[in-house]
Symmetry: C2
Subunit: 372 residues, 2 copies
């Protein structure tokens, strides 16, 4: 782990760059807005820790009313469980090695649930639970249009749920029904149609399960782009948004509609970068490239400087085009809004929390690189 790029109490001007900076006012506001939304909508919030990878942030979300956290990897669950998070859903299939034994070990210190979309996975979870001498909660993942993991809604899902419910080492935990593809559909109409389809598949599966005497304690899904729609469906019980606490340039490109208020949230996460070279007029080079910023959803935007454009990333360099009259100075620090927050966070060891221009906190990205 690298040293933190700043000291508590330091001025923003003294933060070493590149650094991962949280605007704490915007961050606190985002968490409060989501909590407010969930109370009004009558749904539970289980934020996704794959975004932040940090027990300190998880516990702030829980203090605001979240029921627990989602993770994608057992290593993330370990960081959160030992960091004081009592209720964790691994919203993903878990295969191979010692992963299931590690997940089962965590079930001694908190509530742990795991997803499955295959009979063989369920048998493996069952064996791990038996070995650990406890019962594990298993959700069936259904493919509600994301086209990634998950069985089809309906009879295939019901068969897996029955398999889980029959096991004396397992508990049927419900349905995992996340529509990832819908999150960045740009218009409210497109997102509405995608989540209507997802909700219909979920509802149908819930009903078929009920006919077999199986209740769904959790019907989970939804991200920052669509959570209001799942909440309004009446079938989803938990929303799993992650990015809302930080936001990113990609989510900011979503257009709002009454049912999908992504604009409720403000940019709270920035990569602070310095201009390290001004090689010729019209070009500035910053010290944050591919290793400091995820570019899979586009290059970052420059906060408050719309005439500067980030036009190229190499490993350690970012090239900016400058309009005449708006060129930055050599050494100037700029706030970059990442294209995609989750993998950008995973590039850093530390969050630098800033309020009123001063470093207020340093939080470790403790589950950084927790790939297993």
């Amino acid at each position: 782990m690298n040293l933190p790029p700043a000291a508590i109490g330091a001025a923003v001007a003294d933060i070493e760059t590149p650094a991962l900076v949280i605007d704490l006012d915007a961050f606190d506001r985002n968490i409060a807005k989501m909590a407010e939304f969930a109370r009004a909508a009558g749904v539970r919030v289980r934020p996704h820790a794959k975004t932040h990878k940090c027990a300190a942030i998880a516990r702030r979300q829980i203090a605001a009313g979240a029921v627990g956290q989602c993770v994608q990897k057992v290593g993330e669950a370990e960081v959160l469980a030992w960091g004081g998070v009592p209720d964790i859903l691994i919203s993903n299939e878990v295969m191979g090695g010692t992963k299931l034994a590690r997940a089962a070990a965590l079930a001694r210190v908190g509530r742990i649930a795991i997803c499955a979309d295959n009979e063989a996975q369920i048998a493996a979870i069952e064996a791990a639970a038996d070995q650990a001498g406890l019962r594990l909660s298993v959700l069936v993942e259904i493919d509600v249009g994301g086209g990634r993991c998950g069985v089809q809604p309906g009879p295939e899902a019901v068969a897996l749920a029955q398999r889980i419910a029959r096991s004396r080492h397992l508990v049927f935990g419900g349905l995992q029904a996340y529509q990832g593809r819908a999150q960045h559909l740009r218009t409210p109409e497109e997102r509405h149609a995608a989540i209507a389809h997802a909700s219909e598949g979920s509802r149908r599966t819930v009903e078929q399960l009920r006919q077999q005497g199986l209740d769904c304690p959790i019907v989970g899904g939804a991200g920052t782009g669509t959570f209001a729609l799942e909440s309004a469906s009446g079938v989803y019980t938990e929303i799993q948004a992650g990015s809302y606490c930080f936001m990113d340039a990609d989510y900011a490109r979503n257009l709002d509609g009454a049912g999908a208020p992504v604009g409720t949230f403000r940019h709270a996460l920035f990569v602070l970068a310095s201009v390290m070279s001004m090689p010729r007029p019209g070009i500035a080079v910053v010290d944050a490239g591919l290793k400091a910023l995820a570019t899979d959803s586009g290059f970052p935007e420059i906060w408050g400087r719309p005439q500067l454009r980030y036009v190229g990333a190499s490993d350690e360099h970012g090239k900016l085009e400058c309009q005449a009259g708006d060129a930055p100075e050599l050494g100037e620090k700029l706030r970059l809004v990442p294209g995609h927050c989750d993998p950008t966070v995973d590039r850093f060891d530390w969050y630098v929390g800033v309020r009123n221009g001063v470093v207020e906190c340093l939080w470790p990205v403790a589950a950084r690189g927790a790939l297993n």
Copy 2:
């Protein structure tokens, strides 16, 4: 830092996935091939540690004849210097905070050189050297066609070199003349033309410096795609290739010519991934997505399985399309060849070195995330 994904002596089948695996036979061969090339060509090799970020690998390269290492960041230099690397070139501009003081501190334990392309940077390096009570070596970076950092070859570079040479706290170290854009030009003819241009600018600048009584101890540049061309130019004294020890899918797409033998090297770096879901015929999902693989130079290829195609990455998932008859099995481990090795390495805490199907060594990616 996360725990290593395997134990020494374990079988490949028991490595937790995703994991960053080195095929040690191919890796050793790549290092030997480069050393052999450099001896025959009469150039020095200073491999770029921005690729591997690991003192253990740096020291193996030096044992094979490399004169030292390049890095891009002071944090990388710190890891190498304290890891026993005696000669380090920071092949990049260094701006802001305590970075120059940290670099100067390293000059007490080894040779450290830094690049500059601006008078203000030189003044800052001079102040840091003065403060530390030692002399620092500074190279002038010239833009030989890469279009990123660097002053233009010729008088502008000479003026900066004279500024360095006049300082009693600095030593003029030579020219940094890396043509990054040329590395992935696909045909030998294109690369030849780009490096002919780079060499011409370097040669002209070296001559103008000589007329002013200034020698260039280092004229450095070249990457894995072009090193034979810079070596043959007669003007470059050091080649800075990094990727050659690992290779990646992007470099493998370069076409060979007599002057640019990128095909000398073999794929030695893989992300080992497991099939975690087989949701429907023709689709498999592996446990390595954007957080385990850099996708800026394309998706990974599947080693030895040309009928499997990696077609989509999300944060923790990779989607594969399978031809009928060549579908993998649930839980099967696959070797992915990263599109771009440098930022892929930076996703992991550990290298798992494998020979004859057994884990032989675990090396820390010690400068992982050394962004400052």
